[in-house]
Structures are given as C-alpha cells and as structure tokens.
C-alpha cells in the first residue's frame, strides 16, 4: 500500500468550439504537461463543461470527419448526442450513456445534438476522450459499443453514499461493460456530500480525474473544484476522494502504450508514413462515404 500523490491540478483552458455544437476545454494534449505521451493511453480529452444551448431547429454539431488509429469515447452527462458513421452505424447517446467507438482502420462519422434536445435546448455536458490503440490493433476492424446508463454495472458505496459506475476495467470486483484493447479503468463516481471512495491502480498506470459536478477533497488534503482536472504521480497506487458537496467525478487510469506516436488532425498512428497513408486513404474514399 502506497499513496499516489497529486502531480498537478489543472484548471480548464479557455473553451473553443468543435463544429458549432461542442464548446470544449481541451485538457489532453494541449494543457501544460498533459502530453499524449504523459497521459497514454488517453491521448485527448475535450470537456464540454455544462453549457446552455438555446433551442435550435437545425441540430448543432460536427460534420463528417474521419478517424483512424484510436478509439473515441463519448460520455454524456447532460443533453443527448446523435451520431452516424460510414459503416452504417448510428445511435443516440443519452444522459449517463457512453459511446465507445473503435475507429481503428478508419471510419467517417458525424456527431450532432439529438433532434428533440436541439429543439427544446438545454444544458449540455460531455467528455470526449481519445484512447490510443497499440500498433497491432490500429488497423483492426471498426466497431461500436453503445452503453446506456442502465447497462453500466456499478459498485454501491457503504450507506448508499454513492455509486462507482464502471465503464471499463474493474472496481472492487465489478467489471466494466466496455471491452478495451489495453488494460485500463474508467469510472464515473457519483457521490453524495461527505461520501468517500478509494482507488487503487498499478503504479505504472497513468492516472487522472476530472471533477464534473461539485467539489472533492483528494487524499484528504487538496480541494479540487468543478471542471478541474487532477493528474496523479506514478509514485504509488492508492488515492482517495471525499465529496465536499454532491459530486460526479470521472476517474481514468490506464497502462501506457509504450510506442511512438505520430498524430495529425484526426489520425493517430506510429509513424509519419502511416499518417501520409491515412490522409491518402481518406482522400481516395477508403474510409467510405457519409452524407454531410
């Protein structure tokens, strides 16, 4: 048993728009020290902090764009997102739901506010993560895992003080619903005020959390407010959090993928040559076709 200490508490950067539907703070890779290499296998995190979108007849979102070489994981906290892809897939991610899309060898997709949500408007809050794939799986077949909140197994904290929803990995024997290519843990901790939860991950796993709602005390010492990100040192295994008000916290911990990263726009490969190939394949229609 050894404590994992905080390396950095990162406030949200000024937001920018992705398309016209996602107003995001980027944490990984553009915040200080949160590089793809340091955070691997989590190579991008865009956080749409709670933001009110007024009613719109035309759903806002991001038009057709490709991905290759990694997975996108979209976690919906408020609002709903509809998505479609060039392999004929599509669906709606509702509140508490997760869409785990393995882009791998390549898909075209588009993401919009779901039609009804768009018409009524409302608070919108999402996280999108990019999870890297090891070289051997980068060109595997694309696939989807759509998880509604009901599909996600959760661990009940003592005295009904909260739940740990296990999206991926394992928490005290509760298995995550999503399958992953490399070892990792991804949880939503939903805590009532004063609830405590402890976590233990191998020391080598890159580990972080994001406070989605409320505020927490980490390792009984550091108060972390809403929308702040915590990067942990790789100096121990265990840390604890305590909700200082009702809180929702996204917890991430994964084994780093120790391979070179070559990234450009929506492609994350291992070499420059593979990036050039990805761009050529996209231009030549090898990702399929999707109407804008």
């Amino acid at each position: 048993m050894s404590t994992r200490n905080i390396e950095l508490v990162v406030p949200p950067r000024p937001p920018h728009f992705v398309g016209d539907g996602f107003r995001v703070h980027n944490f990984i890779p553009s915040s200080f020290r949160l590089t793809m290499e340091r955070m691997s296998p989590f190579i991008l995190m865009d956080y749409n902090s709670k933001f009110y979108f007024p009613p719109s007849e035309q759903p806002k979102g991001v038009g057709v764009h490709p991905h290759r070489g990694f997975e996108t994981v979209t976690i919906a906290y408020k609002g709903k997102v509809a998505h479609h892809d060039s392999a004929g897939g599509g669906g709606i991610i509702g509140e508490g739901g997760v869409q785990w899309m393995t882009a791998a060898s390549g898909v075209l997709h588009k993401e919009y506010h779901e039609e009804e949500f768009s018409k009524t408007g409302g608070d919108f809050q999402m996280v999108q993560l990019w999870v890297n794939l090891p070289a051997k799986d980068k060109m595997s077949k694309p696939k989807y895992q759509a998880l509604n909140q009901d599909d996600i197994q959760s661990y009940e904290l003592e005295n009904h003080a909260g739940t740990i929803e296990v999206i991926a990995g394992d928490y005290k024997g509760i298995k995550g619903s999503a399958s992953t290519f490399t070892p990792m843990n991804m949880y939503n901790a939903r805590l009532q005020k004063e609830a405590v939860a402890d976590f233990s991950f191998p020391q080598t796993f890159n580990t972080a959390l994001l406070v989605i709602e409320g505020s927490i005390l980490v390792n009984e010492s550091e108060e972390v407010p809403t929308d702040h990100f915590v990067l942990f040192e790789n100096d121990g295994e265990d840390f604890g959090i305590k909700a200082t008000e009702d809180a929702v916290v996204l917890i991430l911990s994964g084994e780093p993928i120790d391979e070179p990263i070559a990234a450009q726009g929506p492609f994350v490969m291992n070499t420059r040559e593979e990036l050039v190939q990805a761009i050529e394949d996209f231009n030549m229609g090898k990702f399929g076709y999707l109407e804008d």
Partner: protein, 198 residues
Amino acid sequence: MELLNFKKYLNQQWGLPKDAIDQLCDGIRTKKVKKEELLLQAGEICKLTFFVEKGLLRMYALNEKGKEDILQFAPENWLVSDRGSIYFNEPSDYYIDAIEETEVVLLDTEFVDKISALGPSFRKLNDRLLHNHIRHLNKRVKLLLGASAKTRYLNFIKLHPDVLLRVPQWMVASYLGIAPESLSRVRRDLAKENFKQG
C-alpha cells in the same frame, strides 16, 4: 514566433547559409492572424507577400453573384500574395484571409531589397519561382477549362493532401470550380470503388 518553417524555406529554396538567414530574420515582421481575419481586401493595393509559418490562408475573389471563388489555398510553407497588384501598383481584385488561426511572415519590398543584396543568385531564383507560379496557374486554367470533376479532385489531393481535412467541402468545391454536389458525387464514387468494409 520561432520561424522554423521560414528558416527552413530560406535554406532549402534560396540556399542561404545560417548567418544570412539570421540576418534576414532579424527584425522581420510577423503576424498572428485570427480565423476569418482579412490580410488583403479587393480595392487595396497589395503591398505584402505572406509566407505561412503555421495555419492556412486562402485567396479568393467575389464573383458577379457575390459568391466567393477560391483561387488559392496557402497552408504551411506556401506564399500567397497578389503579385500583379504589387508589381503594377494597382488595386487588387482579391481577398486574402485566414481559414485557421495562422502565423505569417510579412515579406515587403525591404525584405526583397535585403535578399537581393545577398548575391546575384536572387534574380535567377526569383525568375524560377515566377515561372513555377505561371506553370502552376496555366495548369489550373487547363483543368478548369477542360477536366472532369474527378480529374480536378485527383489533382487537388495530390497538390494539397491535407486541405480537405482542414476546410469545409464547399471551399474545395469552389477551388475546383464545381458545385458542392459534384464534389460529393466524386467522393461517393471513389468510396464505392475503394471502400472495403471489414
């Protein structure tokens, strides 16, 4: 601004050694351009050539219907300017603006004087650049006059492999002189030929 690309360009295109490059870059003007910010407007006399250190510019004209016709994209390491307006000191017909947040090096007559003073090879190299520009323009006119949408598209992705990823499709269609629907059709047909599921 670090000017890594610009320095590399001066070394590779102009064959300049490090001390000459440092001398040229000393006090050189640069600018951070916001998305959609204009660097040149029709009616103005163009005084500057823009070297794109990072980002993406475009040059366009407004046609009779008030629609934008894109003449050129200028991603990293490209130069863009209205050479005619500079040389003949006459009002430009064109606009230059940024599609992304862009860092540019501003090349003015003072810079041209400075680089000319470095040796006689400047004139030769400038001639070469000018003729390369003419060759490129002629090819573009030829494609616009007689090539199918598919041929235009295939030439475009060879010249600018990553621009389609960085700009809305209608801009690429405008550059190619085709309707956005025609570009969609070309891309759909290519996908039919090349997309193998699984």
